[in-house]
């Protein structure tokens, strides 16, 4: 009798421990999935607002290289007041957040982090619920209400398409030109240094206001720019950890 009781008690104990362990593992793993994994390289962009003239070359090059519907902009440039006599502009690509709300809310894990910190989209997996579009505090995502057919007006003057057009019914956003980074790395090039491996918007910027590189490399131009300049990022208060940093135009008071 006693032995049977003990056995039952032990069985219950073991079961409880097992459930607790399973739940704990689940909790830990789910917490880990809401933060970008830290791979060998961590791409980031630094935009110098004192150099930006608001010419929107970045937007045009982006439209061409990623074959974007002219109604959609992955990279927008908005005017934001003046400093002295100069207008100040805020170019806004995807921030590729360390804790990206869009990844967190995606019910089917179509939005995910790459090891290098790029927030990517699996268009085949996406069900078009647009949660990510609403969750993004930067308005970086746009929905494909219709299939993009016909000519892309930005081609060929501003570049050649390098990726497939997105289907109807999925949101899309800036990908840091992952195709250029991946192809460049495969050829032994350094993104941010060799133009073939660098995002199109960085290459085309006539004033060199954009820098791109690896945060893990202390000698990369972005690391140096972050080290040598006061920088801010958009909506730091939300704790999203954006990987796009801005060097404010001279005279701008940090808010």
């Amino acid at each position: 009798m006693t032995s049977q009781n003990v056995n039952r008690r032990e069985f219950l104990k073991l079961t409880a421990i097992g459930v607790a362990v399973a739940a704990g593992t689940k909790a830990v793993s789910s917490k880990a999935s809401s933060e970008a994994p830290k791979g060998k390289r961590q791409w980031a962009m630094v935009i110098d607002q004192s150099k930006c003239t608001g010419c929107e070359y970045c937007t045009r090059a982006c439209q061409a290289h990623n074959d974007i519907n002219p109604d959609i902009e992955w990279n927008t440039v908005t005017e934001n007041g003046t400093v002295g006599n100069n207008q100040v502009f805020v170019p806004r690509p995807c921030m590729h957040c360390e804790k990206a709300p869009c990844v967190e809310v995606c019910p089917v894990k179509a939005s995910y982090y790459r090891d290098d910190g790029i927030v990517m989209m699996d268009y085949d997996r996406c069900i078009g619920c647009r949660y990510c579009q609403i969750a993004c505090p930067y308005g970086a995502r746009t929905f494909n209400w219709e299939k993009f057919t016909g000519e892309n007006p930005a081609v060929p003057e501003w570049g050649m398409p390098e990726v497939e057009r997105r289907p109807r019914g999925v949101p899309e956003k800036c990908s840091f030109c992952y195709q250029r980074i991946d192809r460049g790395l495969a050829q032994g090039l350094t993104p941010g240094v060799d133009s073939e491996a660098t995002p199109a918007c960085v290459n085309i910027c006539p004033t060199g206001a954009r820098m791109f590189g690896d945060l893990n490399n202390p000698d990369s131009n972005v690391s140096l720019a972050l080290h040598n300049n006061p920088t801010y990022s958009l909506r730091e208060d939300l704790g999203t950890g954006p990987r796009v940093y801005y060097i404010p135009a001279v005279g701008v008071e940090e808010s």
Partner: protein
């Protein structure tokens, strides 16, 4: 008797033969521009890159070896090989041959990688590449180097589209039409401080764009065929004098009387400014197709006239043969 349709068919056959022969002959004569063809030409590239074909072949780079103005001047100077270094692609001075007429894909991109399109075409977008032809005597690098554009690290392709070999086109925000003419729109795209004044000036209303004053075309005395656009972008007194020469330093009695020289007509101003485009206003040579069409018409007429004789000759032959057969 032949029916009308049969006669027309015979006439059409004449027309076709005449047109074909003329087209071949005229195309062969078109070799006023030196002939040479090797594989790996732009036609290979445009199989996939159709987007670039039209802008390139209509632009100055595509026409560099066939532009009538160039061919005239080149022939006048005794067809020097030195010109072909830049006006053709892959010119070899040793054999005086070249791969392709005009500034074709390979001139800037070089050879395609073996695994293209997996590997992209290489291209050097630095001014050094453009400078191989647009050198100091034909471009004015000294002027360019004092410009703010150069000092801020901008390069040729910032403003110029290398494929169409012209200024990049800028439309207004979100595809809206530009507020001023195209060249000024490109400048104002960055120089936004002038977006709210220049479009409303008399200059803009008269069709004077930014580059008309800020890029002088300096005559190159050594090489009459080329003018040097002043890329320092400084507007000089010469720029003003292009139009306002008669208003400058009017003589004292005029100043006292309050009469000044009449303003030149706006059209004349435009014509003065358009010196850069004058070279393109050469008469176009008649294309081989034009000759062929003319020959076709002649052939058609000839066929119509000859048809009755042909018919008679044919019937006689047939009759003759039948008689032979009967024998």
């Amino acid at each position: 008797m032949y029916s009308r349709i049969q006669r027309l068919l015979i006439a059409l056959m004449f027309a076709l033969v005449a047109a074909g022969v003329t087209l071949v002959a005229a195309s062969a004569q078109d070799g006023a521009s030196p002939p040479a063809k090797v594989s790996g030409t732009s036609s290979d590239c445009t199989v996939c890159h159709t987007e670039y074909q039209m802008t390139w072949q209509e632009g100055a780079h595509g026409k560099a070896g066939s532009d009538p103005a160039f061919l005239d001047e080149w022939t006048k100077q005794g067809k020097p090989g030195a010109c072909l270094v830049c006006h053709t692609t892959g010119y070899d001075p040793a054999t005086a041959t070249f791969k392709e007429n005009g500034v074709a894909c390979q001139a800037c991109h070089g050879e395609a990688p073996a695994d293209h399109p997996k590997s992209p075409m290489p291209v050097d977008t630095s001014p050094d590449l453009c400078g191989r032809c647009h050198s100091d005597t034909r471009f004015g690098w000294q002027d360019w180097k004092v410009s703010t554009h150069y000092q801020r690290g901008m390069n040729c392709t910032t403003c110029h589209d290398p494929h169409s070999a012209s200024i990049k086109k800028i439309s207004g925000p979100r595809g809206q039409a530009a507020t001023t003419d195209e060249v000024s729109a490109l400048c104002i795209n960055c120089h936004k401080e002038h977006s709210m004044d220049f479009p409303y000036t008399t200059h803009n209303k008269q069709g004077v764009s930014c580059v008309d004053c800020h890029v002088n075309h300096i005559e190159n005395t050594e090489d009459a065929a080329h003018t040097v656009p002043d890329h320092s972008f400084n507007a000089s007194l010469d720029s003003c004098n292009t139009c306002h020469a008669q208003q400058m330093h009017s003589s004292s009695d005029q100043a006292v009387n309050g009469t000044s020289a009449p303003l030149p007509e706006p059209q004349a101003q435009g014509a003065n400014l358009a010196t850069g485009t004058e070279t393109t206003k050469q008469p176009e040579p008649v294309s081989p197709v034009g000759f062929a069409v003319l020959a076709a018409l002649l052939g058609l007429a000839g066929g119509m006239v000859l048809a009755p004789w042909l018919e008679r000759w044919y019937q006689r032959t047939v009759k003759h043969n039948r008689e032979d057969d009967n024998d």
